[in-house]
């Protein structure tokens, strides 16, 4: 008789344990154990029919269905614009400072990292369409429209620079498509042309189509290096302000953002961050 009481107390603890799990797979396994113990209790109180049926359906079938249905949800979907040395692909293999950062973060919350390179325009639509969890690739607050996103803490400093022909400043400026001009002072809405990528913007500037453009330092160095035509001789560069490179998460994901911020702070405190950055940005 005391066996039955012991088993039912075990059942109670199991039911509470199922609800406290945060990983779904653990919760499903515990539910299987819960059904198994209840099947044993049925046997003890003289109901073998119910014990066999609960064992066959409750333990085996239900657990199979749940485990089959559960996706190996453990994937962290990252979308990014390819910006060496932050995050880029060379000879088919991912490299970059942000890659190390994200890989460490994914291991921390035991998920599997999956990076996908997309064009500048469909960054926001992908996050809006909830296909991805995180935006990377030299992202800084103001780089994309803000209402769907929430930004993480910065991990690397950079400057926002405005490059323009002397004395004809502010006539026809160019900025990247999704940037909202309100976050950049000194740039007025009218007369702005928006470009799909930095390379087209620099080409347009060189063939005089626009009189100047705004870009951040990280992207400028790589874009110039890649299209290896120097800027026009007499262009002036005046820095608009400091920016913090970081990551962006879709608006609703507070807990993911919190974990990311804790991870970045802890990395900065332990000094690994500076050592990592110095490796990539000498």
């Amino acid at each position: 008789m005391t066996m039955i009481i012991l088993f039912s107390v075990l059942l109670l603890c199991l039911s509470v344990a199922v609800l406290l799990q945060d990983r779904l797979l653990n919760a499903v396994i515990l539910l299987g154990v819960f059904s198994l113990v209840s099947s044993v209790v049925y046997f003890l109180i003289g109901a073998p029919d119910v014990a066999v049926t609960e064992g066959a359906i409750g333990v085996a079938f239900v657990t199979f269905i749940y485990v089959l249905a559960l996706s190996d949800q453990g994937k962290l979907h990252v979308i990014a614009e390819e910006v060496p040395p932050f995050l880029f692909q060379e000879k088919g293999e991912l490299q970059g400072a942000e890659l190390e950062l994200l890989k460490g973060f994914a291991d921390e919350i035991n998920l599997e990292l999956e990076v996908e390179f997309v064009g500048h325009r469909d960054l926001t639509s992908l996050i809006g369409g909830r296909r991805a969890d995180l935006i990377a690739g030299a992202y800084f607050p103001g780089f994309l429209a803000q209402e769907e996103l929430s930004n993480s803490n910065g991990y690397n400093q950079g400057q926002l620079a405005k490059i323009h022909r002397p004395a004809r400043e502010g006539e026809k400026m160019g900025i990247l498509a999704e940037t909202d001009p309100s976050s950049i002072d000194g740039v007025r809405e009218e007369g702005l042309t928006r470009f799909g990528s930095l390379n087209d913007m620099i080409k347009a500037y060189n063939d005089e189509r626009i009189s100047g453009f705004v870009s951040d330092s990280g992207r400028m160095s790589t874009a110039l290096f890649r299209i290896n035509t120097p800027l026009r001789e007499e262009s002036e560069i005046d820095t608009l302000g400091e920016i913090e490179y970081g990551f962006a998460v879709s608006a609703g994901e507070e807990d993911l953002l919190e974990e990311l911020d804790d991870y970045l702070d802890e990395l900065a405190r332990s000094g690994e961050l500076d050592e990592l950055l110095s490796g990539y940005f000498r």
Partner: protein, 122 residues
């Protein structure tokens, strides 16, 4: 306070734990798990309610032995299958919802559903 009253009381506590989990958990799949707990615990309660200590399985024509009451056991076989049916269909619907909205958080799903119904009808 014989043992079977204590065990029935514990099965009711498990029902309460399952219902609290069902209401407060935001993840739709965890809601289904707690619904499964509630159903299993109700079945346990239904079989236990008529259990007298020392009951033997109602099998074998030997008379004069204290047999357990066969009726709740037969009824419970049916409700185990019913709970399985409910679970399989709700898992199917959850898969369709996740395929459409990519999230298991019920509050977000409810927001999307309301907005989508208005968009389609207006």
């Amino acid at each position: 306070m014989s043992a079977n009253l204590i065990v029935s009381a514990i099965s009711i506590v498990i029902v309460c734990v399952g219902v609290i989990g069902l209401i407060l958990k935001r993840n739709l799949l965890l809601k289904l798990l707690s619904l499964n707990i509630v159903n299993t615990a109700t079945i346990l309660f239904f079989v236990l309610i008529v259990y007298k200590p020392g009951d033997r399985a109602p099998i074998g024509p030997v008379t004069g032995v204290q047999f357990a009451d066969p009726l709740p056991q037969a009824l419970v076989l049916t409700s185990i299958v019913i709970n399985f049916g409910v679970l399989a269909l709700s898992l199917l619907f959850t898969m369709v919802l996740v395929k459409r909205y990519h999230t298991l958080d019920l509050r977000k799903i409810e927001g999307f559903v309301k907005r989508e119904f208005e968009e389609e009808k207006s």
